[in-house]
């Protein structure tokens, strides 16, 4: 059905509108520009509304995890809390510190915000609902995310504040370390599908009736961790480690400038989750269900559902130190990502050369990759010494001997 009121795919409505515009005799470029504008406005609206909704959801969910009720005063069940937050931030005095670099200071939040919106361009929200289905979609996602590095530095540097600078430096070190791991994780998907186009990747998952998460457990784990780092979110929110350097690179920002940073954090989270959903979890498809349920509804459901795991991480896990985080990236995640790419490459080669049936190949590869994931994670962790006594938990020794000294002895296991 391609009637304009078929809301299973909003692209139908837009297409009908554009046809109407063409019928009115507008020159050729008008429908093109109109389509782009509609897409941009749509994405912006959705992004802002989602952020507002998720401010409330996150605070309530984290509150429930902490055995308390979240915000419940402003409006029914606290639902107007994000509105109150937004109004407060808008009305605050926009202080620019004296020695701060005025133009950079003003530019910082904008530069942090722009990539998080632009990255939604190639992501398919539904079958016809892509703003720009680029041929190099995957690479585009990574490229736009890499602009974040410079933006964070500009924000931190222009504040003329030691804490902000410390935060900015930590952030850059983290972000460039984890960019490589992101690329390698996404490379596995591209190898399987043979194309970097996000529409093709979803099509491949639909055709072969399998979600790539099953075939790429190692890559998914690496990408989830690298994604958490890229969005500066707990457990890797070192850049804004509240209990250490107050607020890191956005210490000096107040009012709506801080609002931009806040929003950019959520939007980056949505962006990373959208990438995971599209590439590994099948995007807007659900094994054929999208014929009845709108594709964009499925996509948003998966997006929000997966974002819940990130909220879960934030509510539960403590924070790593910066040097531990980078050691983790370079010594642990990088080797296993490279091994993963090696394995995937050889599997794809085997598939094409031996001409295996998809029915046989995919379960086989799923089992092999799953076993590989478990083996490499456990094996490499042990090889790096994570089971050494230095890293394991233990309880206190209980004694009744007063004055004895037990220093340096091996403590009992928990």
């Amino acid at each position: 059905m391609t009637e304009w009121y078929d809301f299973r795919d909003i692209g139908n409505a837009v297409g009908a509108l554009l046809d109407q515009i063409r019928d009115w005799g507008a020159p050729d470029w008008v429908p093109y520009v109109a389509a782009t504008l509609i897409g941009i406005v749509g994405i912006l609206l959705w992004a802002v509304l989602s952020v507002l909704a998720f401010i409330w959801i996150e605070r309530r969910v984290v509150g429930l995890m902490q055995n308390r009720i979240g915000p419940n005063r402003v409006g029914p069940q606290g639902l107007l809390q994000p509105v109150a937050d937004a109004i407060k931030l808008l009305l605050k005095e926009a202080i620019t510190t004296t020695n701060a670099d005025r133009y950079m200071f003003w530019l910082g939040p904008i530069l942090v915000f722009i990539p998080t919106i632009v990255v939604f361009a190639p992501i398919p929200f539904g079958e016809e609902m892509v703003l720009a289905d680029l041929n190099v979609g995957v690479l585009f996602l990574i490229a736009i995310a890499s602009i974040n590095t410079l933006a964070v530095f500009i924000a931190g540097w222009s504040s003329n504040n030691k804490y902000a600078l410390l935060g900015a430096m930590r952030t850059i070190a983290m972000l460039i370390s984890y960019e490589i791991i992101q690329v390698l994780a996404l490379l596995g998907v591209v190898l399987f599908v043979g194309s970097m186009r996000l529409g093709d990747i979803i099509g491949w998952q639909l055709d072969h009736d399998v979600w790539l998460i099953v075939l790429q457990p190692v890559a998914v784990l690496c990408y989830i961790i690298a994604g958490a780092v890229e969005m500066n979110r707990s457990p890797m929110d070192i850049a804004e480690a509240e209990s250490e350097i107050v607020a890191g690179y956005h210490t000096e920002y107040g009012g709506i400038k801080f609002g931009f940073f806040y929003q950019a954090e959520y939007l980056a989270g949505f962006a990373i989750t959208a990438v995971v959903v599209t590439l590994y979890l099948g995007g807007y498809t659900l094994f054929g269900l999208e014929q009845w349920v709108p594709g964009w509804l499925i996509f948003l459901g998966k997006l929000y559902g997966f974002f819940f795991t990130y909220i879960w991480f934030r509510g539960t896990l403590p924070r790593l130190r910066i040097d531990q985080l980078m050691a983790f990236a370079w010594k642990f995640l990088l080797p296993i990502s490279i091994l993963n790419v090696l394995l995937v490459g050889s599997e794809v080669l085997l598939w094409k050369e031996a001409g295996l049936e998809s029915q046989l190949a995919i379960p086989l590869f799923a089992v092999i990759n799953g076993a590989f994931a478990v083996a490499v994670v456990v094996g490499w962790a042990t090889a790096l010494g994570h089971s050494a006594p230095r890293h394991t938990a233990h309880r206190a020794i209980l004694t009744q001997e007063v004055g004895a000294i037990f220093y340096g002895e091996a403590a009992p296991r928990p």
Binding site: P235, P318, R395
Partner: protein, 380 residues
């Protein structure tokens, strides 16, 4: 190739989400490594020691609530023990057992905060804090039942305790004794083997036993360094001589061991409370001596004030932070001549520079959290 670098002074505090109060730490950094750590204290100095010289001995008991405001019972206890030693007062048995029970409940509540805030310093966004405060609330409800207050308790008196516990107290304690061990298990589950907490705290801020003893460190910090020294067993007071409990000792002296020792102490506290509940005798809760129980407020030098004989006394107890001692000098008047608090937080802070140098800023925060200071005690 050497790069031209200059050390970088960062000021942590006095207003900071993680300094446990108004405490200032000036760190000299070389990149991320700490080269020098300088403590600046005194932001909460309220000159309690001097103010106490103007008030009678009983009027000074609320001061002891406010020095270590997280463990008010133990503060009260040390002070009244010092005055009793000075006066030679015999405290009745029931009062001793009540004091022991209250002190141990207070220890549990204080360690709830210590461990929760330690996890918060490690970055766990207040989730452990919220969970542990839930249990602290239950204990504070008990305190409210016993003496009407939650934080600044003012429960102990010179010669006993201020009032006997109401009849619903013991059943409430019994109910709590069924719930709390499971909670401690929950905390151990959540926090003890959490890879990130282990990575953040193993090997950080280690103190050898020799260093710890040389710096007069006491309490869980000393025990984490492997020295099995607890004032409750070394120099028993109240009813500690009659209860059976273990001392929790660590083996490496690092932040993780301090955390583990505090967790184990929470279990031991529950064990002591259980024995108190079983073995508490009936009887008076206050020693009978003239003018001891009724002290008019606003009449400091009336005929009902305690006048200890001339002399000096030092009494010490094991507070949740370490050895809390009160040194009282009396010159025969109703107000003390010298009122000195040997506060464990202040003394335990002495090796902070030794522990922090060589680590990173994040380590300094975690080490400060593991010392478990209360700035009211540090600055008095």
């Amino acid at each position: 190739m050497t790069l031209q670098t200059e050390p970088f002074v960062v000021n942590i505090g006095p207003q900071h989400p993680s300094t446990h109060g108004v405490f200032r730490l000036r760190l000299t950094l070389d990149g991320e490594r700490i080269v020098d750590a300088d403590m600046v204290m005194g932001y909460l100095h309220r000159s309690m020691e001097k103010l106490a010289e103007e008030r009678t001995y009983t009027q000074n008991i609320p001061f002891t609530d406010r020095t270590d405001y997280i463990a008010a019972m133990t503060g009260n206890l040390a002070y009244v023990m010092a005055v009793e030693k000075l006066c030679g007062i015999e405290v009745p048995d029931r009062a001793l057992w009540l004091r022991t029970m209250m002190a141990e409940l207070q220890r549990f509540a204080s360690h709830c905060i210590a461990i929760g805030i330690f996890a918060n310093d490690c970055g766990a966004w207040q989730t452990p804090v919220m969970h542990m405060f839930r249990d602290r609330e239950k204990i504070l409800d008990l305190f409210e039942m016993a003496c009407g207050a939650r934080l600044t308790l003012n429960y102990m008196r010179i010669g006993g305790v201020s009032r006997d516990i109401p009849p619903e107290f013991i059943p409430a304690v019994r109910k709590l004794l069924k719930d709390l061990p499971k909670r401690v298990d929950e905390y151990e589950d959540l926090l003890l083997s959490n890879e990130i907490i282990v990575a953040r705290s193993r090997g950080v801020g280690a103190l050898t036993p020799e260093q710890a003893i040389a710096h007069s460190v006491s309490g869980p910090m000393l025990r984490a360094s492997g020295v099995a020294w607890d004032v409750r067993t070394a120099d028993p007071y109240a009813a500690y001589g009659k209860v059976d409990f273990d001392i929790a000792v660590g083996t490496n002296g690092d932040v993780y061991d301090r955390f583990v020792v505090r967790l184990a102490e929470m279990r031991q506290s529950l064990r002591i409370v259980e024995q108190c509940v079983e073995m508490m005798p009936a009887g008076p809760v206050h020693a009978a001596f003239a003018g001891a129980s009724v002290q008019p407020i606003g009449n400091p030098v009336g005929p009902l004030a305690i006048r200890p004989p001339e002399g000096e006394a030092y009494a010490r107890i094991e507070s949740p932070r370490g050895e809390l001692g009160f040194y009282i000098v009396s010159d025969g008047s109703p107000a003390p001549f010298r009122f000195h608090i040997r506060s464990p937080s202040f003394i335990n802070l002495t090796p902070l520079k030794l522990m922090s140098v060589g680590g990173t800023v994040a380590d300094a925060i975690v080490i400060l959290g593991s010392v478990d200071i209360v700035v009211g005690e540090v600055d008095r």
